[in-house]
Amino acid sequence: MHDTSNALSALPKATKKKKSSTVIEVDDIGFSYDYGKTETLKGISMEVPKNQVTALIGPSGCGKSTLLRCLNRMNDLIDTAKITRGTIRILGQDIHAADVDAIELRKQVGMVFQKYNPFPKSIYDNVAYGLRIQGVKKKSVLDEAVERSLKSAALWDEAKDRLKDSALGLSGGQQQRLCIARTIAVRPKVILMDEPCSALDPIATAKVEGLMLELKKDFTIVIVTHSMQQASRISDQTAFFYLGELIEYASTSKIFTSPSVQQTEDYISGRFG
């Protein structure tokens, strides 16, 4: 196990070299799922700005979710997977540096998944889970964190009178917002979202989208979505991927009104085969 004492706790100090508005720097990253035989990501370079929502779009298999999972080293869990080239820096720190522990990294770079996945525990215990893992035991601290996180996730009013009830009794949309509350309880710098609304109805989707727009004031959000409308509604920056390459990365307004690359235009306007 790596010594994490000087790893992620030092992240803010490492930002000196880069302009403060950039949180994530992806530099020529290559990634393979089969020991490097074939590259799923082929030299991706992009910078993710602070306190903005950045959407990753593209057809299935283009590498957008793979890149997302690279950002908190979720792909480390796959034996055959490896970064073949390049670096990823979060707040100036190379996340693959020897002294960076993946678990510590994931406290700073939280993730919300496509299928909401609350633990089979109470609402309170779900939100407090991350803090307890970190060793927080004081009830007043946990109470404060649970209330703050549920309020931030726009779930407090619906859940405050049933905090001890099972999280599995919540509706789908509420469960997803609970997962977001659980993610932000440990105060990450970045939230990664992998198609967070694909299993939700339009009302629940609107609530989660509204939540994202609120959360970006405090967090930097990177979202993978298949919905062009969702990307255009909530994101500030949009990156279009195709066959493992970053085809175009620009402001969402530019991508959806006058993209520079024909492939981008073909994809977003439904001309892509």
Partner: protein
């Protein structure tokens, strides 16, 4: 470059219908203007009446185009070129409806003129009409062919229209002062000059929207021309050098 077809063929069909309807409306506006001027020059009241009656078709087409555009926005959520095309068609239809309204105004004044004894100078309107009609025809062709260069030339041609309008209007204004027996007719002719100038202005609006539709560059109100269309690539404002 011609965009490829959409995966959803009904999207292509809807866009095609919108474009065809807009072109139908454009031809109607052009015909109404032609009828009304022919009515004045040939002293044919029927042609003027025809232009006034046909304006109703233009009004209905404008409503239809707005409806088709909104249906496309709701059903297909167009973006980029598709979105600009839908918005462009809706804006073009508004300009065409106004052109047809100018034709109606001219037709109504022409009917008044036709009630009176013929004045020979009325033929001077034809020169101004030819310039305005050429602008409109080029704007419609530019729309049909998605031709940026032709659209930009319409904007350039407007200067010629302004010149011809000033000259013709000044001639009739002087007549208005001196030929008191026919002052009402000359006043009507001054107004007809103004409406023909307005037709050119509306055709220019259409041309500017075409440039936006194709290049995504807004050149209205002194906006810069698309960089690739300026001779030195400097992206400066001014006369297009093609």
């Amino acid at each position: 470059m011609q965009p490829s077809e959409h995966i959803l063929t009904t999207f292509d069909q809807a866009l095609h219908e919108l474009r065809e309807t807009t072109l139908t409306m454009a031809v109607g506006a052009q015909r109404n203007l032609q009828n009304t001027i022919n009515g004045l020059l040939q002293r044919d009241k029927q042609l003027c009446n025809q232009a006034i009656a046909d304006d109703e078709d233009e009004d209905q087409l404008e409503i239809l185009i707005d409806n088709l555009g909104m249906q496309i926005i709701v059903r297909f959520q167009p973006v980029a070129t598709d979105l600009r095309m839908v918005i462009g068609a809706m804006k073009t239809s508004t300009n065409l409806e106004r052109i047809s309204d100018q034709a109606v105004s001219i037709a109504k004044r022409s009917r008044k003129i036709l009630k009176n004894e013929e004045i020979p100078e009325v033929g001077r309107i034809e020169g101004l009409y030819q310039v305005a009609a050429a602008l409109l025809a080029d704007a419609i062709t530019a729309y049909a062919d998605s031709n940026t260069e032709l659209a930009l030339s319409v904007i350039e041609q407007q200067k010629e229209l302004k010149k011809t309008h000033k000259k013709t209007s000044r001639f009739f204004s002087r007549k208005l002062e001196t030929e008191t027996a026919h002052y009402r007719d000359y006043l009507d002719l001054v107004l007809i000059c103004r409406w023909l100038d307005r037709v050119g202005g509306l055709a220019t609006n259409i041309a500017e929207d075409i440039v936006f539709e194709i290049t995504s560059t807004d050149i209205r109100h002194g906006g810069e021309l698309p960089r690739e269309l300026t001779e030195d690539g400097s992206n400066s404002n001014g006369t297009p050098q093609i």
